[in-house]
Amino acid sequence: MTAEFDKHSERELDALLESLREDTAQDASPDLLARVLADAYEAQDGMAAAMPEEPVVAVPAPRSRGLLRSLLDAIGGWPAVAGLATATVAGVWIGYNPPTAFDDLTLSVLDSNYGYEMNIGDSLPAFDDLQADG
């Protein structure tokens, strides 16, 4: 467009633009700031008003918990039940058919096997006496 738009002209133009930059620097007037801030507050109030009411979400009523469910929860659920069942079966089996290792242990410690012979009848008053005493 302009062959004469050389570096010299460009420097002059840059200097002019710099002058214009300083010349046109302007502060926002308090009045303008007040108007902008009023708009801001109004927009915020509008946003608050436009917000939907607290959403009404149907909260499902807690289902009544069955006795079994409560019991299961109390002892730790089905895995705990399985453990209990295993221990019960093992206890019954040990009672029915005690391992010989038990005999060895009790013989060495108690000089007797694990079967206790207690004559409970001798240590308790006769039932008849209790009845007689009232």
Binding site: F5, H8, E10, L13, T24, A28, L32, V36, L37, A40
Partner: protein
């Protein structure tokens, strides 16, 4: 939360607080951003009153978009510059519709005719001539020149504001400056430019 104009919070963080109803964030954003928008509008339009209207309108649009602002997508200042420059462009186009002379007049009529004010008058004439030449630039060239040389934005920042590539920005500013030089050529004496350029 105590906030002041020097708050280190980013514009985006403040905008999120604003959207949550924080009055202090509104004040900080107003004090921080309004002068920048006003400055751009003033330089593009050359009219204080119109620039204030544009600044208020641009800020109002910011307030309204705040609840829907998507974090990380754009810088608040870039978005604001874009809105303001578009508003200015609209006004400039309307002005062109009514004629440049009606809108700008022939420079600034000197109000002070006292001889002592001669130097100030000359400076005012220089600035008026440059403003007038700027006003004659095509809108996009003018926007690029104002953002680059008056607002001091970098080319990548201008590219983001104008939603074009950096090379396009360079081209626009270069063409804008050539056009300015051409427009001013006939007014060298008025501007005090050398004749050997």
């Amino acid at each position: 939360m105590p906030l002041d104009a020097d708050s280190e919070l980013t514009d985006e963080a403040l905008l999120a607080l604003f959207a949550g109803g924080n009055r202090a964030a509104a004040r900080v954003l107003t004090l921080r951003l309004t002068p920048r928008v006003l400055s751009l509008a003033g330089r593009m339009l050359g009219d204080r009153s119109e620039a204030e209207d544009v600044a208020q309108e641009a800020m109002l649009r910011l307030w309204k978009i705040a609840p829907d602002w998507r974090a990380g997508e754009a810088q608040v200042s870039t978005w604001l510059y874009r809105v303001a420059s578009n508003l200015c462009t609209d006004r400039l186009r309307r002005r062109r519709g009514v004629g440049l002379d009606d809108a700008f007049g022939e420079g600034v009529e000197p109000e002070d005719e006292q001889p002592g004010a001669e130097a100030r008058l000359q400076e005012a004439d220089r600035m008026a001539a440059l403003k007038s030449a700027l006003a004659e630039l095509p809108e996009r060239q003018r926007t690029a020149v104002v953002l680059r040389h008056l607002e001091g934005l970098s080319n990548p920042e201008i590219a983001a504001v104008m939603e074009i590539g950096v090379e396009a920005v360079e081209s626009l500013t270069a063409r804008g400056k050539r056009a300015l030089a051409s427009l001013l050529k006939g007014r060298r004496a008025e501007l005090g430019l050398s004749d050997d350029g």
